[in-house]
């Protein structure tokens, strides 16, 4: 819903929240149900309301547990049957600088101030450890915003007893914890308050009257920040940018002006603006965002723009390049198919309002930010939080490269009349083994973002995955695939649960970028072998239909499983005996870790 996208009107959201909520629920979308516990150090009523709206807009329907006013510490530290029963999927600790109990005195020495900072920090650390032990779910923690006044003026940031200095110290300690603990995320209200304007963010009236640590007007911004992290944790991030060229990546119309006359580089103010935007996109690519071109142009002409030496982005940076005269909604859907992504995983970036409207109308779930004025492009994309990062794996940095390699594979495939010959020519090597520590982050990421080649769409946190890996009740398997064009990294994940003499496959997924490479056969061979080794007589697989996983509806029949049940919703169960399973031949050289 447009009203809930950046830049939103805070006053409007607060006034119309009841109506907005109704219309979000009416639209007939399927939601991911999640239980969110808010542990507050101040009043959280409106924080909860706003968080609900933003999450609904991200496709997540939350139910809430709210701590009593300022009981965040007690609620998390001590036995709490109500919270235990609620069994949160995520915990959000909404504390602010108002919850800093002791501040250093202005005259305190560096050691004294450090000791006070450690004391405050340790109280929080105790809380986080307790939450991890009791609830073992993702925790989101606000850091601290700067204080509302500076007793020491500018020296407040310098002297050991200064308030600004103290907040910096505490935030550094929080950061350190976040860097060394999985499943723990900092919500950076310090940055948000700065963007918003600290005086507008924190107002003594709201604290004294209502015990709100921030103004009503600032709450949507805060809630949006939290919603961004939650949707990223539960796999609702966008994955790709679909980019227009003329007046989006450079100034001017290349078909009319020619490559020499478009504005890009350092020479003019407009050129500089586009240069900075291209640099921002290049950096997005480096964190794993897929770039694609969607432009109305002649292909050859369009390419000359990217061939300019002062163009930051080169043809190589794009996983897909569509410069033609088709409608852009059509191009976007074609690009999605080509890259094995869903259209809704795209953000469409175009300066032309008519094109934006067309794509918005015709491609369900795609995000289409308002791009007005090159000087605002970066801020609009950045503040929208489409690609909120919760972890960076080596794969993310290499994603663009992988798509390039895929393009080369497609070219290579075209040279073979026989697909089997082509597969052989790839010299594929797979590493298939039980979950190993170095791949946990990637495995967690895959379970949370794979939608299409995913039989049960079971979403798991990294800590749950860690538990499965250690348990003797479970058979876990990851598959990593490499070929002569490059390394695809971990691309397939499976988990089986041993129940008597049966193994039930509770999770089976594969990245779509290795479709039709025999990888699923290699995985199943090894999986069934391990089941037999564990003494299982049968392997049972399940298919739970979603809007997105129709491609694997008959997955198990490929392996000789027999359908044993089907309910009205299309959920099916399949079985094969470990003895009767016939290993498939594959063109992959298999090894363990």
């Amino acid at each position: 819903m447009r009203e809930l996208e950046y830049p939103f009107d805070a006053g409007y959201l607060i006034k119309k929240k009841a109506q907005i909520k109704k219309s979000l629920l009416v639209e007939g979308t399927t939601f991911l149900e999640k239980k969110v516990a808010i542990l507050g150090g101040s009043t959280t009523a409106e924080v909860k309301n706003m968080l609900e709206l933003f999450l609904l807009n991200f496709g997540i329907r939350p139910s809430f547990y709210e701590s009593e006013y300022n009981k965040f510490f007690e609620d998390g530290m001590f036995d709490n049957p109500a919270l235990k029963e609620f069994a949160p999927d995520v915990i959000y600790i909404h504390t602010t600088s108002r919850n800093i109990i002791s501040w250093p005195k202005a005259t305190d020495s560096s050691e004294a101030a450090k000791a006070i900072a450690n004391e405050t920090y340790e109280r929080f650390e105790e809380l986080w450890n307790s939450l991890k032990e009791k609830y073992n779910c993702p925790v989101i923690q606000n850091n601290f915003e700067y204080p509302t006044y500076r007793l020491l003026g500018n020296a407040d940031a310098v002297f050991p007893g200064g308030g600004v200095n103290f907040v910096n110290k505490l935030n550094a300690l929080f950061t350190e914890y976040a860097c060394s603990h999985e499943n723990f995320y900092i919500h950076d209200i310090n940055y948000e308050a700065a963007c918003f304007g600290l005086d507008k963010w924190a107002d003594a009236l709201y604290w004294c009257m209502y015990k709100y640590a921030m103004t009503l007007e600032a709450i949507p911004q805060c809630a949006f920040g939290v919603a961004r992290i939650i949707k990223a944790v539960f796999g609702k991030n966008k994955k790709a940018l679909s980019l227009d060229l003329d007046n989006t990546l450079w100034g001017g119309v290349i078909g009319d002006d020619g490559a020499d006359n478009i504005e890009i580089g350092q020479e003019t103010p407009m050129a500089q603006g586009y240069h900075e935007f291209q640099k921002y996109l290049k950096r997005q690519e480096e964190i794993g965002v897929v770039l694609s071109v969607n432009s109305k142009n002649n292909e050859d002409t369009a390419k000359t723009g990217l061939e300019r030496p002062d163009s930051v982005l080169k043809l190589d940076d794009f996983a897909s390049f569509k410069a033609n005269w088709n409608n852009k909604d059509y191009n976007l859907i074609e690009t999605a198919k080509e890259l094995n992504l869903l259209p809704e995983s795209f953000v469409f970036v175009d300066d032309n309002p008519a094109e934006r409207e067309l794509v918005r109308e015709n491609v369900k779930g795609v995000s289409v930010p308002e791009m007005d004025g090159i000087e605002n492009y970066i801020r609009t994309l950045d503040r929208s939080g489409f690609f909120e990062v919760i972890a960076l794996s080596k794969d993310d940095a290499k994603r663009a490269e992988m798509y390039r390699e895929n393009a080369e594979r497609m070219k290579a495939a075209a040279n073979f009349a026989d697909y089997g010959e082509y597969l052989k020519s790839l010299n594929m090597k797979a590493e298939i083994d039980a979950f190993a520590p170095e791949y946990m982050a990637r495995i967690a990421q895959l379970t949370n973002k794979s939608n299409q080649f995913n039989l049960t769409t079971l979403r798991l946190s990294q800590s749950e995955i860690g538990e499965f890996a250690l348990s003797s009740e479970y058979i876990t398997l990851y598959g990593k695939l490499e070929d002569k064009f490059g390394d695809n990294g971990v691309v397939s994940v499976a988990i089986g649960k041993k129940v008597g003499d049966e193994v039930q496959i509770i999770l089976w997924l594969m990245s779509c970028r290795v479709l039709k490479r025999d990888m699923e056969y290699a995985m199943m061979n090894e999986f069934v072998r391990r089941c037999a080794e564990k003494g299982a007589l049968t392997v049972k697989g399940f298919y739970y239909p979603t809007e997105k996983n129709a491609m694997v509806k008959d997955f198990y029949s490929l392996f000789g499983f027999k359908k044993v049940s089907e309910d009205g919703a299309g959920n099916t169960a399949w079985e094969v005996g470990t003895e009767e399973y016939k290993p498939k031949e594959v063109c992959i050289e298999i090894s363990g870790r």
Binding site: K15, T43, A45, Y210, L216
Partner: protein, 79 residues
């Protein structure tokens, strides 16, 4: 701003905030007369009124308001 004008605008705000079509404001109306007007909704209400009328109530005035009549007086004074 005339009182009638303020009342009309206030009724629209109340309808949005309390999500109802059934609002009639009198000078003597208090929180007890409106379904859902609790202390938390009061915060929202004041915030939305400030936003819509483009005003900012001083804290001492929010604390002192007893009924809708006094609220209207204050808005008339500030807007």
């Amino acid at each position: 701003m005339a009182r009638e004008e303020i009342v009309a605008k206030l009724e629209e705000i109340f309808k949005d905030v309390f999500d109802t079509d059934d609002i009639k404001l009198e000078d003597s109306t208090t929180a007890a007369d409106v379904d859902g007007w609790d202390s938390l909704m009061h915060i929202t209400l004041i915030g939305v009124i400030e936003d819509e009328f483009g005003i900012k109530f001083p804290m001492k005035d929010i604390v002192g308001m007893k009924n809708v009549g006094q609220l209207i007086d204050k808005i008339a004074e500030l807007a």
